[in-house]
């Protein structure tokens, strides 16, 4: 069984500052993918960033970057230069490489203060 744990229910950040969201996971698979999804109040989940487990290089998408520590089974998300539009729930998720379902963590609410 796969599990994903997000230990921070809520994080607050000042606009233009940086915030880091934590995620740990457990899987017996050697090949898998990790994701961060954003869910704004509209409820529509949006993929923020994806990391392939066999790639050592951390993924980056504009102001979003991850710190993937495979041995520690840790996958944190860093949001740089936070903007008001970044305020949302953020979910960490895991998928087997050949699997077709996402296993989600409990989510972290990000508040951005102007």
């Amino acid at each position: 069984a796969q599990t994903v744990t997000q230990s921070q229910p809520e994080m607050s950040v000042q606009e233009a500052e940086t915030v880091t969201l934590s995620c740990t996971y457990d899987t017996s698979e050697s090949d898998y993918y990790l994701f961060w999804y954003k869910q704004p109040p509209s409820r529509q989940m949006i993929l923020v960033i994806r990391q392939e487990a066999y790639k050592q290089q951390n993924a980056t998408e504009n102001r979003f970057s991850v710190n993937f520590q495979k041995a520690a089974k840790s996958f944190s998300l860093k949001i740089s230069d936070s903007q008001l539009g970044d305020a949302a729930m953020y979910f960490c998720a895991l998928s087997k490489a050949a699997g077709n379902k996402l296993t989600f963590g409990g989510g972290t609410r990000v508040l951005v203060k102007p």
Binding site: R43, Q44, K101
Partner: protein, 116 residues
């Protein structure tokens, strides 16, 4: 192009009634997924389709839940004899094809179901 759409956006029903939730995937997407988001259980996988077939129904919580997909497009999730614990947001997603983590799942806005 249009994204994944779901209807209704909100649904209130009485305990014991049947409900149908609809998902229209992105045109051309062969894979379709249903998830449930509830306060108690978080986000959980229910079922996925490749074309019209559902190889993995392991996430359906009980035999009151069923889903079908016709014409490789629209999918309907049916909950029979609804219970209060069925209250949740039901999310649908689609991807161009099955491909594990390589394929991005695009989500719809969900249907919020409230069972009184």
């Amino acid at each position: 192009g249009a994204g994944v759409s779901q209807s209704p956006s909100n649904k209130v029903t009485e305990k014991g009634k049947d409900v149908e939730l609809r998902c229209d995937p992105i045109s051309g997407h062969t894979a379709l997924y249903w998830y449930r988001q509830s306060l108690g259980q978080g986000l959980e996988f229910l079922i996925y389709f490749q074309g019209n077939s559902a190889p993995d129904k392991s996430g359906l919580p009980s035999d009151r839940f069923s889903a079908e997909r016709t014409g490789g497009s629209v999918s309907t999730l049916t909950i029979q004899r609804t219970q209060q614990e069925d209250s949740a947001v039901y999310l649908c997603a689609s991807s161009p094809r099955l491909g594990g983590g390589r394929e991005t799942q695009y989500f719809g806005p969900g249907t919020r179901l409230l069972v009184l």
